[in-house]
């Protein structure tokens, strides 16, 4: 029997604000325990939350990036449960009226593209952190009330690979980091398949992934699920977002990867596949754009990036941003090729040197004497030598064997250490071989 895995994901992402969601405490990471705590985030009696406007702006950016419909009126709610690192005994979140709903994210799996629906994104505060030791527990409230969004997908995902593509795409959009999800999904697909095939039933439960053992483990079943007793948070008035605010946020939105991909195709004329690869990483796309701006030859930049550069990076297991070579240099290299200063063959050598050292291509060419020779007298000298030394082939060529031209060009280039301008060599060879007949 075949099964179709049906997967939906809930992704938590921290909004990168300087202060917490409901008080002025810092969100600084790795501060000493309980350094960033005030009466409000410690849940002292009588304190009240005040919503961080910056966090709302960040949440709206995520909403627009995922093509969600923004609710101009959304409502915060209390999610009630007891835990020592939850200071108020409830988490302030959003429940039936989240900040946005009904979005989507387009992912590419192999050559296939697919749309994953976004059910909703809601804003909420994080809890603190509990540290359990032998016989006692410690609570650190630095993280308490750190602003988060939860991105809930529709159950549109059908494989671990698609889930990975979805998460990677979210990460490009700068809203998430993740690990082990694909492994956990594959494990679950196998576990549930085997369970059903052996006559068992899949139960609704919360499971956790043990990355060390590579297995998922049940945390709690449905009957142990909390009754969170959600109700509207009476300490906060409904969050009203004006059309004007929304437009301001939209105007500040950076270009999204999909928009960038389409622009590279339309304006720079590079192939769709190249554009998709280049815009799959913000850093790579930036590198590409700078290089293009330096040489004006997008197709050439795309070829170098897609070919040599990514090949070398993959070989070294390195990322674009820790590469020695800068986009300015690649642009300069392409300019030299286009100007006929160096040949493509030489350029490959220069590129490898640039990649290794980050050196300027002109300096490399000068230092290694790789400048292309277009001086006809030097080339004619070499041609005469080749004709003199290959009388048989010359005769064959002259009797109609045109294919031998390549052989002559190769021989001349060899004579000149590869530095001769191939166009000039061709022209002079043709003239020389024809002239003697």
């Amino acid at each position: 029997m075949d099964f179709e895995p049906v997967i939906g994901l809930e992704v938590h992402a921290q909004l990168t604000t300087k202060s917490k969601l409901f008080c002025a405490c810092s969100t600084e990471f790795n501060a000493p325990a309980n350094a960033h705590v005030c009466p409000v985030c410690a849940g002292h009696p009588g304190t009240l939350p005040v919503l961080n406007a910056k966090a709302v702006e960040h949440a709206l950016k995520a909403a627009l990036a995922l093509d969600c419909k923004v609710n101009l009126r959304s409502v915060f709610a209390r999610k009630n449960y007891f835990y020592p690192d939850l200071p108020k005994g409830y988490q302030i979140t959003q429940f039936d009226l989240p900040i946005c709903q009904h979005g989507h994210l387009d992912i590419e799996v192999g050559t296939r593209s697919k749309r994953v629906g976004i059910t909703r994104i809601h804003m909420e505060e994080d809890a603190g952190k509990s540290v359990h030791a032998q016989g006692y527990s410690l609570v650190n409230l630095n993280r308490a009330a750190t602003p988060l969004i939860e991105i809930v997908s529709e159950p549109d995902i059908r494989s671990a690979e698609e889930a990975g593509a979805y998460l990677r795409k979210l990460r490009i959009k700068n809203v998430n980091s993740f690990r082990f999800v694909e492994k956990a999904i594959d494990y679950e697909i196998n576990r549930q398949t085997q369970l059903i095939q052996s006559g068992g039933q899949v139960l609704q439960e919360t499971r956790t992934y043990d990355s060390g053992k590579g297995v998922t483990i049940s945390m709690r079943g449905k009957e142990e699920a909390h009754d969170y007793r959600y109700f509207p948070e009476p300490d906060l008035i409904p969050l009203m977002i004006s059309q004007e605010t929304l437009e301001t946020v939209r105007s500040k939105l950076p270009e999204l990867p999909d928009q960038k991909r389409d622009r590279f195709i339309a304006e720079l004329g590079i192939p769709a596949y190249d554009s998709a690869v280049i815009t799959s990483s913000r850093k790579l796309a930036e590198f590409f754009e700078v290089a293009v701006s330096r040489c004006g030859n997008a197709k050439a930049v795309s070829n170098w990036v897609m070919g040599e550069m990514l090949r070398l990076l993959k070989l070294d297991e390195r990322e674009v941003d820790d590469m020695e070579m800068q986009p300015d240099e690649l642009g300069a290299l392409i300019r030299m090729i286009d100007a006929g200063t160096i040949s493509n063959t030489i350029a490959k050598t220069v590129f490898e040197e640039m990649y290794k050292t980050g050196q300027d291509p002109e300096a490399i060419v000068k230092e290694k004497g790789l400048m292309q020779i277009s001086d006809t007298s030097a080339i004619l000298q070499a041609i005469d030598k080749v004709i003199a030394g290959n009388a048989g082939q010359v005769a064959e060529y002259r009797s109609g064997k045109d294919k031998l031209m390549g052989f002559f060009v190769g021989q001349v280039m060899k004579q000149m250490g590869g530095k001769a301008n191939p166009g000039v060599v061709n022209e002079l060879l043709k003239r020389k071989l024809g002239a003697t007949s």
């Binding site: 009466p39 410690a42 849940g43 002292h44 009696p45 009588g46 304190t47 009240l48 939350p49 005040v50 919503l51 209390r78 009630n80 007891f82 020592p84 200071p87 108020k88 005994g89 409830y90 016989g135 006692y136 527990s137 609570v139 009754d227 007793r229 959600y230 109700f231 009476p234 300490d235 906060l236 008035i237």
Partner: protein, 478 residues
């Protein structure tokens, strides 16, 4: 009272320190159990600072050097704040409530923290972990609640004026039972920051005093927008003493809701309303019969909304960060269980009721339905405002009852809130003012309810009752 104290203080007939000592001496002899904690040294320090201001003639307000009592539900960083609960018996907040900050900057003196029902849950001030408050008029009777200490202290002369809080009548009811004036401001006119929450959508800090003017002076000092409370209206405070003068010069259409004058109303309560009605007519106001048809549901709605919010608001008292902690066998469940067993019976009852009303499968039938009916109750008032400017009503069906009389029957106790909870549910201001005594000599109060932010009109009409209908008289031994 405050105006005459201010006159004595500014003309140096008495110093702030002398005044504080006068009240502290009276508190020592108190038989009403009005205070949970008396902070003599702190009071004298504040009074001395006020004397410096008075001597220099700088920064002097009507409250500079005036000794006040504070309901023990408001956070004060220099004074223990118990909420009349064992669970916070030793709790010293790390901050001052906004209302406290404002009174401090006005130069007021705080004598101590006043008794109340535990976490403001009760109508008779008998649920306090520190004992019931007795009515100063007759010690066998309750002072009303939950701000029983705040009302009794004003009546017994244990503070010049006080702050209470009103979630379902907790300022107005004890004011009526003790013969004092109590104002519940519009929801959102006084910051709740630092008021320990009972029911967040209903709670409001309110002043109690021997006169409407005293309430006006306190309200002027504590009202106005606050960036720390999102539910507080972003409008500045006002000089309510001036505003009530202007308001007192106008004529009003005053509504008498028929649902408030039903069987079970004590005859002296009805009689007092009649006398007020006659005086108002004589003064040129128009009395109009109106209907607030959903009044009968208000107690039911209130006891669902209030307990639901309370069940969540009181979750933070878990023994982890502050307050009492009973560690038990050192397991988490035991710590919660034992620590939270420190709550009194009434608080436990309300937490359980609220937890039930919000739980899966019951939410729609209880909490959600209650919120819908709450809207209908508010709509009743909105409709009434098309015909009248204010509403005149009893504060409670009867005068004060005997201590212990209703403690065995919570439902009877809850029904006592029938005339006060509608104003909270609709977010409207209400004032209770003395309008006579019953056959047993117990005070009778009447209530005016106004449109949002109509505090000045309420204060003006309360002053009208004081001067034209009935005066309780006041004796603080000065």
């Amino acid at each position: 009272m405050i105006l005459s104290l201010h006159e004595k203080l500014t003309t140096r007939k008495i110093s702030s320190v002398e005044l504080a000592k006068h009240y502290l001496a009276r508190i020592k002899l108190d038989k009403t159990n009005s205070y949970i904690s008396v902070e003599g040294n702190e009071a004298l320090k504040m009074a001395a600072a006020a004397d410096t201001r008075l001597a220099a003639g700088e920064n002097v307000t009507l409250l500079t050097g005036v000794p006040l009592g504070i309901k023990d539900l408001l956070c004060t960083k220099d004074m223990i704040t118990t909420c009349a609960s064992k669970i916070l018996a030793d709790y010293r907040p790390p901050y001052d409530a906004t209302a406290i900050v404002r009174l401090k900057s006005a130069g007021a003196t705080f004598l101590g923290k006043l008794n109340m029902d535990e976490f403001a849950m009760g109508g008779s001030n008998e649920s306090s972990a520190f004992g019931a408050v007795r009515n100063p008029v007759n010690h066998d009777y309750v002072a009303g609640g939950s701000s029983g200490g705040s009302a009794a202290a004003v009546k017994a002369g244990l503070a010049a004026a006080t702050l209470g809080s009103d979630t379902g009548g907790s300022v107005r009811l004890p004011a009526a039972y003790t013969g004092t004036v109590g104002l519940k401001p519009t929801y959102g006119s006084v910051s709740r920051y630092g008021l320990v929450a009972f029911a967040s959508s209903l709670d409001q800090i309110g002043p109690l005093g021997v006169s409407a003017e005293d309430c006006a002076i306190l309200l002027s000092a504590i009202a106005g927008g606050d960036a720390s409370d999102s539910t507080c209206a972003p409008r500045p405070s006002a000089d309510y003493l001036e505003l009530m003068k202007d308001a007192g010069a106008r004529k009003y259409r005053i509504g008498l809701p028929k649902e408030y004058f039903i069987g079970g109303l004590q005859k002296e309560v009805a009689g007092s309303i009649d006398r007020v009605v006659q005086a108002l007519k004589k003064a040129g106001h128009t009395l109009v019969d109106i209907s607030l048809p959903h009044t009968e549901y208000s107690v039911a709605v209130y006891y669902i909304v209030a307990v639901s919010e309370a069940s969540s608001n009181l979750a933070r008292f878990d023994g982890v960060r502050y307050g009492a902690r009973l560690a038990g066998d050192r397991s988490l469940a035991e710590m919660y269980k034992q620590t939270r067993s420190l709550f009194g019976e009434e608080v436990k009852r309300r937490i359980i009721l609220g937890t039930f009303a919000l739980s899966a499968g019951y939410y729609d039938a209880y909490y959600k339905k209650a919120c819908q009916v709450r809207r209908l109750i508010k709509n009743d008032f909105d409709k009434a405002w098309q015909r009248v400017d204010l509403v005149l009503a009893p504060v409670s069906p009867t005068t004060a009852f005997k201590l212990g009389e209703k403690t065995a029957d919570p439902l009877q106790m809850y029904l006592n809130d029938i005339f006060t909870v509608p104003a909270n549910l609709a977010g409207l201001p209400g004032i209770s003012v003395p309008a006579g005594r019953d056959a047993k000599g117990l005070p009778v109060g009447v209530q005016f309810i106004g449109k949002p932010f109509a505090e000045a009109e309420l204060l003006a009409l309360a002053k009208f009752v004081e001067s034209e209908v009935y005066s309780e008289g006041v004796d603080h031994g000065l």
